[in-house]
Structures are given as structure tokens and as C-alpha cells.
Symmetry: C2
DNA sequence: CCTGAGCCATTTGTATACAATAAGTGGGTC
DNA sequence: GACCCACTTATTGTATACAAATGGCTCAGG
């Protein structure tokens, strides 16, 4: 509901209200709130009340910066550990992306799904449960999630090409190359977000 | 209890047993288990049963590697953002460390407390709630916590000197310098842990 | 002796009730 | 009119009961 924008940033989340809305009791709602708090989608006041997290521009830049660092680290590790099956899976998912964006009207949700799977394989290949755990905190952000919704054709194709470069780096097992591409890939996503956000802001005025 | 070693790695944690042991109901125990799972001190089986996490050598190396990366990033950011009060607090805590390790029998718990506060100030000065959130997952590890217990006099004094270097880097607002020292500082801690662990292993045989 | 199926015990998931605490509200006083 | 205190209401914390699912154990059969 947060990702879908049904719950505006800053709004208070009452356990009971959510329980009613989801037709469950407070107990599972509490669990969910705790997890969302860990993922920084929710912040809690001193008196333990829950609010939808509000993201400042600095927060967003910060999140992208950390994500770039961690995903680059994942790529670095993955380069020397990735196996043939994972490499092939990367190619398959990137081909899926190519197909999804080839049509006149790009299929964004298919793109997003393949994109998610692509990055997930890299994290998996990195073989670091800790790194994977940290990254999930950063990629489930509403901001990141919505960015691609505003991707134009150019950004979609650039993303596909960068993935191809990543596959090439992995095939050569070049850790430094893979990490560099990944850093650029995420930074590019950040600026694409900034552009998309600027458009949204203007539209709101 | 995990940190104190009362619950050996791999042992199953029943919510009810813990509730009985702590004289509370299962509800708060469940909350605690969820948090500890997020902090990777507990892993859960496919069937949602909880076990004390067992750390392989690779896990530990991995954790230190990530911690080095994130703390270096914190130092990098802190260098340009730290204020006079925080800088002074760093000096105070490092003086506390100096005093604690000066005696014939070093006061390890005081050392640990000042050390923790020292690093916390840097993370705070970095001004990134996300980074802070990620780091708490890594520094509360049993392994990291116990390392200093086995620090010898040389390691304690080296740690103090490295902190002095960090303060100098912050005073000059040199982000690169601060990050470099921090990376070395954590790597040094890793090797100190390895040495201490090797001693423990031999003692166990 | 090994294998598998069914039953029992253990463990977690969910619902609900009550307690404690914080926030909002109204009235009274200075 | 402003401020403070008491009171009501909203919200979260905890305890407990029951349901569901999983694990392990026993016993029958090969």
C-alpha cells in the first residue's frame, strides 16, 4: 500500500485500522510494521507510533549512494564466483528485458520483473548472505520502485546495454570491471530518477 | 544471552522456552526474535523455527569486509559534516580509552564502551540514517563483540593510535584520509580477531 | 534391518482481551 | 485570553487461548 501510494508519506498508521483494512488481527499487522520499520519504509515516533516514512532529497541521494556501493561490491564478488548457470540466467533475463522494451509501448512491469531477477542473481552469486540482507533494505524503497515507471525509451535501452556490459564483465571474471559498470549503472538510475522526479514536481505545480 | 554464549550456535530457540526463561509471554519474545533475525544473530528454518546463527570463517570475513566498507563510508561522510562538539567528544572518548588501557590490567569493558561511543559519533556525524541502520546489523555480532576481549596490550594501544589518526583526519576535514584510516582500522581488527580465534582454537584442543 | 505411513508432540501463527501509556480535549483559574 | 490540570480517548504493549503446521516417533510391512 505504501509502494502503491495509497498511504501518503507522514500519515500515521494505526495497528487497529490496518488490521481492520486487511481483515486480520493486530498481531500479524504488528509483525509487518516491525519489518517495514527495519526496511525504513516506516518510522516510529518516540512513543512508538508508526508513520509512513517521508523521504527528503538527501535521503534519496543517500539511499542511491549506498545502493551503488553495495551493488558494486556484490558485482565485485560475483565476478569470481558466478557459475555457468547463473551467467546464462543473466543472459535470459536481459533478453527478456530486450523483448519487453522493443515494442512501441514498452511493457514496464515485465521490464521491472526481469530487472529485479537480474540484480537478484548477481547478489546471489556474490555469496554473501549479509550483503544480500543489507541490499533488500535499500531496493524495496518506494522511490527506487517508482523510478522505472518514468523511464523513457532511451533509459530503458541504456539499462539493457549496461546489463550486457555486466554480463561481459562476468564472463571475463573481471571483478573491477563489473564493479565499475555496476556503480555507473546505479548512478545512472539515480539521475534518471532525479529527472523523472523533476517532471513530477512540475506537473504537481 | 547469545552474546554471553549462554545459547550455543545452532541451538534451537523455542518461543515458549524463552518466554518462560525471561518470565514474559511469547508476544515480546516473538518481537525480539524478529529483530535478532534482522540482525542476523538468529536464522530461521524453512518452517520458521529459530536457531542461534552459526558463523563460518567465510561469514566472519564477509562481515568484517562489509563493516570496513560501510564504516569507511561513514568516515568519508563524517569528515565534511562533523561539528566541533562531536570532534571534541571523539577526543574525550579516545582519552577514556587511553586511560582504560594505561593500567597494568587494562579495563576492557571501559575500553569497549568508549570504543563503541567513538564509532557511534562518527556514524552520527555521517548524517545518514540508512548507513547507521545498516551498520547496526554488523557491529552487534557476537564475533566482533568478543574480539576485543582477547586484545593484547599491543592491539589496544594500536587501536588508540588509529583513533588519534582519525581525529586528525576529521580535524583537517580530509575525507579520503579518514576513510583510508578507517578501512585499515577495521581490517586490523579482523586480523586481531583471527589471531585471537586461533589462540582459542588451540586452547580448545 | 530398512522403509514408510500414521499418530502424537512440539512449535509457530493468529485472534482477542486487558493493561499501560501517550495524545487530545475541555474546563477552570489566574 | 492564556495556561495548566484533570479527564477522556486513542494507541500500543502484553498475556493468553486456540488453530495450523511441522517434526519426530512408533509400529507395521517388506
Amino acid at each position: 500500500m505504501i509502494l502503491a501510494g495509497e498511504l501518503p508519506p507522514g500519515s500515521q498508521l494505526s495497528e487497529e485500522a490496518l488490521a481492520l483494512r486487511c481483515a486480520v488481527s493486530r498481531t500479524p499487522v504488528r509483525d509487518a510494521l516491525r519489518r517495514l520499520e527495519a526496511d525504513l519504509l516506516i518510522r516510529r515516533s518516540e512513543s512508538q507510533r508508526s508513520f509512513v516514512a517521508d523521504w527528503s532529497d538527501d535521503d534519496i541521494e543517500d539511499a542511491f549512494e549506498l545502493r551503488a556501493m553495495l551493488e558494486a561490491q556484490a558485482a565485485r564478488r560475483a565476478a569470481s564466483r558466478i557459475n555457468a548457470a547463473q551467467l546464462e540466467a543473466l543472459r535470459v533475463h536481459n533478453h527478456g528485458i530486450e523483448t519487453a522494451i522493443a515494442a512501441d509501448l514498452p511493457d514496464i512491469s515485465t521490464f521491472l520483473e526481469h530487472n529485479r531477477a537480474f540484480h537478484e542473481i548477481i547478489v546471489e552469486a556474490a555469496g554473501s548472505p549479509r550483503l544480500a540482507s543489507l541490499l533488500t533494505r535499500l531496493i524495496e524503497q518506494p522511490v527506487v520502485w517508482r523510478t522505472a515507471q518514468n523511464y523513457d525509451r532511451e533509459n530503458l535501452h541504456r539499462s539493457h546495454r549496461e546489463h550486457e556490459e555486466l554480463v561481459a564483465a562476468f564472463a571475463r571474471r573481471d571483478a573491477g570491471w563489473a564493479a565499475s559498470i555496476m556503480t555507473g549503472h546505479i548512478r545512472r538510475a539515480y539521475y534518471a530518477y532525479l529527472d523523472a522526479y523533476a517532471v513530477q514536481r512540475q506537473a504537481a505545480e
